[in-house]
């Protein structure tokens, strides 16, 4: 059996007396597109911040790409890509400057950076403009490509399509599919419920806990609902 790309056991995070992430456990297989759903404040971003080694868990453990998120943060950084909920590129740098900057952070050499930047500009159809001038959808596609620059095993996308128009977010999902076809594990949050249907498996978080997890098809039949949207309404805000 291959090792999971993400393995989480009883992961918990408290802020003072408030429990933001409450003992969550799950595995994500390599190459899987995993949708991490939940209402506002459910704890998604907090969980992601622990999985990428930015925030220490209060208790529990997690391994990403085989490395411990607490003890091996350095190795994790080289194995993962991350797009934050807030836009993650530098708006006052150009496209190429951003790529060079992140390439350096991810430990790529000058030659690799040059090679991958020109390929990236071409595939995204971008010129070397200031990033701040790009429309949101293009920025998000660029941020995604930059997050994949060092060919990480796992990529974490926190609401990558928030505020993005219907065409552009579909194009974004094609980038996700293409990355997953290439073997990258994709861990993604979204508030667009049609996008939940595009994931191999999804989980729904409520008040820090994962209340259900499975393929979209499994969950729809298990909870007897026609769409994931209906499931979300049923579970996300317990009456």
């Amino acid at each position: 059996m291959t090792e999971p790309a993400i393995a989480v056991r009883d992961l918990t995070r408290r802020f003072g007396g408030f429990t933001a992430v409450d003992s969550i456990s799950f595995d994500v297989a390599p190459g899987e597109v995993f949708g991490f759903l939940g209402a506002n404040g459910a704890g998604k971003t907090t969980a992601i911040r622990m999985l990428i080694g930015l925030l220490a868990p209060t208790s529990g453990e997690a391994r990403v790409a085989g490395f411990d998120v607490v003890k091996q943060t350095e190795q994790i950084r080289h194995q993962i890509g991350y797009m934050s909920q807030r836009f993650s590129l530098y708006e006052d740098l150009t496209v190429l400057e951003n790529i060079a900057l992140y390439g350096g952070i991810y430990g790529l050499g000058a030659e690799q950076i040059a090679e991958r930047s020109s390929a990236m500009l071409q595939s995204l159809g971008l010129a070397d403009d200031l990033v701040g001038r790009l429309p949101l959808g293009r920025k998000q596609k660029l941020a995604f490509s930059v997050a994949l620059l060092h060919e990480p095993a796992v990529v974490f996308l926190d609401e990558p399509t928030g505020g993005v128009d219907p065409i552009t977010r579909r194009q974004f999902w094609e980038l996700i599919y293409a990355a997953a076809e290439g073997g990258t594990t994709v861990f993604v949050t979204t508030h667009y419920m049609d996008e939940a249907e595009y994931c191999d498996r999804i989980s729904i978080m409520v008040d820090g806990r994962i209340v259900t997890l499975g393929t979209p098809q499994e969950l729809k039949s298990k909870w007897d609902v026609p769409t994931i949207d209906a499931l979300f309404v049923k579970l996300a805000r317990p009456a």
Partner: protein, 314 residues
């Protein structure tokens, strides 16, 4: 003199080389819930900034509640609730402090505006002592919305107010917009969510600084120019790529658990398209596909109107 709540005539705005708005004209009636949809860069935010007097138009004229956006700027600002796409909260103030601050700027209090903001504010009220920068993304958005509403404006301009807001809260938020509209408030709102566009009285589709059409949202799909079918089957991504190569494919997009396939032969019976496509899919090794003719919705129309070179089958 027009008695429309918002009247825009031939407005143009240019930033250097970019024409952000070109000859934009429309009217929103008093008490209307008027939607703006269009891709990023369509000009929606520029239009909001003109209507809220933060930007001067280069051409044309506009009135809000009968007041001119150039001459009557202060009068407009006092009566308008505006939530810009990028709203700044004070991260080091608590939730309650942020809200009181906005209320006091307009000479009011949280208590006076409470019934207006309650449906949204109640969802974050138990965290009222928490600093705004410790809120989740969607919680910040809810606080920002409460701030835009707390002074009981006569007209609301909301630039993508529900970005980052979860699906349940979005639908509650729209219930609230409907309640506000019933009380006579005029609302102009932009959104990237087509389910939200469906809840507007009328929708203007914008692209490249122009308004392409204005219609009740239910009618926008009815003018879809080409035959459309919905396809379901296993291995959806490969199925999508394969359908794009079908001889008469115009566009193929994922739609939740389905794919929507548009044929490039106008006037052809969709039933015929479905049966042809079934044979094609079978020939490509997709034996189990289900294909049914469907009526286009607003999201199909939106995508048809917008240029998407990457998506077109060659």
């Amino acid at each position: 003199m027009s008695n429309a709540a918002v009247a825009v005539r031939g407005v143009g705005k240019r930033f250097g080389e970019t024409e952000a708005l070109t000859d934009v004209s429309f009217e929103a009636r008093h008490g209307e819930l008027f939607g703006l949809v269009g891709p990023d860069g369509a000009g929606k935010t520029t239009l909001f900034r003109v209507l809220t007097t933060f930007l001067l138009p280069d051409a044309g004229s506009a009135t809000v509640l009968g007041l001119d956006v150039v001459r009557d700027l202060w009068a407009i600002r006092a009566r308008v609730g505006y939530m810009p796409g990028r709203f700044s909260l004070y991260g080091d103030l608590t939730v309650a402090e942020n809200l009181s601050f906005f209320a006091s700027v307009f000479g009011t209090t949280i208590e006076e505006g409470y019934d207006l903001i309650a449906p949204i504010y109640r969802q974050i009220e138990s965290f009222s002592g928490r600093r705004a920068d410790a809120l989740s993304g969607g919680m910040k958005q809810k606080l920002a919305l409460s701030c835009a509403l707390v002074h009981r404006p006569d007209i609301l301009f909301l630039d993508e107010p529900t970005t980052g807001v979860d699906a349940v809260s979005r639908s509650e938020f729209w219930d609230q917009l409907h309640t506000l509209r019933e009380s006579g408030l005029t609302i102009v709102v932009s959104t990237p969510y087509m389910d939200e566009a469906m809840r507007c009285d009328r929708v203007a589709l914008m692209q490249g600084g122009r308004i392409l059409e204005i219609d009740p949202p239910g009618e926008i799909g009815s003018r879809y120019p080409l035959p459309l079918v919905a396809v379901t089957g296993a291995d959806r991504y490969r199925l999508l790529l394969s359908l794009r190569k079908a001889p008469h494919a115009h566009a193929v997009y994922p739609f939740g658990s389905e794919l929507h396939y548009t044929d490039n032969r106008a006037g052809l019976d969709p039933g015929e398209v479905a049966s042809e496509l079934r044979d094609y899919a079978r020939g490509q090794g997709f034996g189990d596909v289900e294909i049914t003719a469907i009526a286009a919705g607003i999201e199909d129309s939106f995508m048809e109107l917008m240029p998407a070179p990457v998506q077109r089958a060659s």
